[in-house]
Symmetry: C3
Subunit: 343 residues, 3 copies
């Protein structure tokens, strides 16, 4: 619980109205409740705040509202600062908890935290200040760097390597076998998948996403790349640095993605393609060809995004286009009839 005045101090803002009002949480305008502070960054937000039970609000400049206001240069950043105060990241005592399973042949830095139910296999290494939460499984000879936060029930397969300051959200699977089979008399025989996954520094991977191990060699997630939830990365993909893969994206095997590329939600890429650096693939699109650096594409198969956007409008009007065509055909028939009669 903080007063509006204390919150204003926290974020470096100025109070208008009653600075003594007590605030216990921050929330977005669409669901803010009494006792909470919210933020407004546009007239639409101001109206939502007016209609809400908010007890205070962060604003850029004074608004015509009856509740106390905290004036700040960036109301959303102030709200985030407040949120960090009301709900700080949990911290974990260093050491191996009772109920954690660390193989005697594993090396866990004494400053790392291994929570109950986490498991570290023979030969694995866990770096300084890294946290392995409950249910995390680190396979044989896998390496987890420093300052990583590995959330519950993440599975890191044998020999895979995770960089420093990596965040893996719950249920992430690093290093399951790639999907590779060869046909044999109507059955599918497994091609051994004995490569690894290498996750660079400062990577974040969302909940329940899957990065398959390479058949041979490595599947690579470059430094600084951010991957959302429920994303599939096939075996032997090489993803560059500082890429963005939004939720439900799927990459088939051996896709190479250049630095800084952005794949919007549920974009898919067929196997063995090159996506040039800085490319942007629209959501729900399917890439079926190599893309040069800086491409902007959409559609299935994906092509230049401006053509695609124009076509989306035409597709929506397709029934009108067809009617137009039919009417034109009638007019042409009429003309043909007229000309015949004239002969």
């Amino acid at each position: 619980m903080l007063t509006v005045r204390e919150l204003a101090e926290l974020v470096g803002g100025a109070v208008t109205g009653d600075g003594g009002v007590e605030i216990h949480q921050v929330a977005q305008a669409s669901c803010v409740r009494s006792g909470e502070i919210t933020y407004a960054i546009s007239p639409v937000y101001v109206e939502m705040v007016r209609a809400s039970a908010a007890s205070a609000v962060f604003v850029h400049e004074k608004q015509d509202l009856k509740i106390p206001q905290i004036l700040v240069p960036d109301p959303k950043i102030a709200a985030i600062q407040a949120a960090m105060r009301f709900g700080p990241e949990p911290s974990y005592a260093p050491g191996i908890s009772p109920g954690a399973f660390v193989h005697p042949g594993a090396k866990v830095d004494p400053s790392a935290s291994v929570l109950p139910g986490a498991s570290v296999s023979r030969g694995a290494t866990v770096g300084a200040r890294t946290v392995l939460m409950s249910g995390v499984s680190v396979g044989e000879n896998a390496v987890v760097g420093e300052d990583a936060r590995i959330h519950p029930n993440v599975a890191i397969g044998e020999r895979c390597a995770i960089g420093n300051r990596v965040i893996l959200h719950p249920g992430v699977c690093i290093g399951a076998d790639g999907f590779g089979f060869y046909p044999a008399g109507g059955t599918h025989q497994k091609i051994p998948q004995r490569g690894i996954v290498e996750v660079g520094d400062d990577v974040e991977i969302g909940a329940n996403s899957c990065i398959d191990r390479a058949t041979v060699g490595r599947t690579v997630i470059g430094d600084g790349t951010k991957i959302d939830n429920l994303v599939q990365v096939g075996h032997n993909c090489i993803i560059g640095k500082n890429c963005i893969l939004v939720s439900q994206v799927g990459l088939a095997g051996s896709v190479r993605i250049g630095d800084g590329a952005i794949l919007a939600a549920r974009a898919g890429v067929a196997d063995n393609l090159n996506i040039g650096a800085g490319s942007i693939v629209a959501g729900m699109s399917g890439v079926a060809n190599d893309l040069p650096a800086g491409s902007r594409v959409g559609g299935l198969p994906a092509y230049h995004h401006m053509d695609w956007k124009r076509n989306l409008v035409h597709m929506k009007n397709l029934h009108r286009i067809v009617r137009h065509l039919e009417q034109l055909a009638k007019r042409v028939s009429e003309i043909e009839k007229t000309l015949l009669q004239k002969d």
Copy 2:
């Protein structure tokens, strides 16, 4: 093992044929085996039953079949009643199992069951009769209500709140960080995600679905809403009551969905949109605009479902439409030539 007669008593039906036949399981007509009872709700089903090894069948009225029949008002409901008898829900003794990890600062109701390998963190609360199965992780200060059933390997993040009678299937992730970054010199800097998820009463969420925590404030799943497997709900979404989100649906951030809306399989919604109450979005569609209450839409971007359905037919015929257009163009050229000659 029950006789046909005993099964008929169980479901309140009437036997025709040998009531002494012994039945050990119930199965659908497409895979029923000897010793099992099945059900038929249409002539197609009756034919499947005739071709099967089923030992008995639930029917609405007597059919020309050689096996014993149980006549009931609703054969599928009778089959479900039988299934509940042959395979009841497991029950769990109250208490904290050996091998469960409950922080001394957590409050677990004595009637709750915490199974081996489940973990309850400092400050968390678990309500009466709730079951936490193996590998479940309840974060710091999280709250799980009464009569909830939390299946294996579910992760509930710190401070998140789960209502009463909630069912979370295996691998569900509540409260992973939302996907939020700001650009800084070619890198993506993390925007702290310090809000929570609030899951209302009577909600069911399918296996491996992900509900991200809000940046600030809350992501809300309203009372009675049912979510299928592998669904993605982004940060700060506000989903109303009694909604249906079918498998593989994806919601970007800050989507608001009104009560009773239905999103069919793999529908997607772009960020910050409002889906009005009672709207129905067709499967595999992508919503890119606000929808008023009661909308029925399909397509990418989604628009009125009747127009969309007509257009689907036209798209399938597009090669014919193009040929029609080319033929028409030839006829027009012919006409133009004729007119020129006449001049």
Copy 3:
């Protein structure tokens, strides 16, 4: 660490160049490093190898490269053999590890391995040489066959049956409740899901995929079927033998799929449909009708793949088609004007 000469012996190949060079790993040409061997199967690969730091290479015939080469009939197979040598599958001692939770009423074969944090419930059976890794949960009366490898955090629901030589990758969920509700006064009432899942022999299921239990009876995955990551299989589906379901595929309820069918990435199938044996559904397609055996389809809804491919080209050109139509309309108007003037 092996010399090139030792590697050549391992794979039955012939060395050209320095056989004494030491190699510690194998990697694909796109990311191979010094100290590693790679493989080349085409001129494109040879160029990648030339530009790389590779210390040796598997080739089919001698190439103009300065590094040692190992000549083999199939360079990719040789690379896989090397990968198996440098990174063999981990092996696990038989027995129940400390920190595993096996109910006294469960039957675990003495040759099976149950790793720390795995949980086997009352009445469950685990066959010979099967490995249950950390965090695996085997429900009441479930059966896991022989020589199965169940990766971390897999959940197998009560009474479900897993065949011999099955591989379940991390986070797989077998036997969560199907998604079934009936409407009641604006709410959705749960239809009990009391059937099971039966997974045949030699099945492999990818990370975080979900196979729902039947409402009554069984959901069946036939022998030899291979399922990739993040796939959804609804309740009561019957999938035949030796099928392939690529990543992010989704099957609604009660879909039947014949032997040997292939569903490419992110294909979807609506409920209650029959996909005939040997059918191939293109990636990102949505099947909305029964398909006879041997069908090849694509699109939404899916239809004959050749028509669909032609239409994809037309859709990309739709803005040109519309312009053509508009120009033609102008010409027809001109003609009509001319004819009127002539009258």
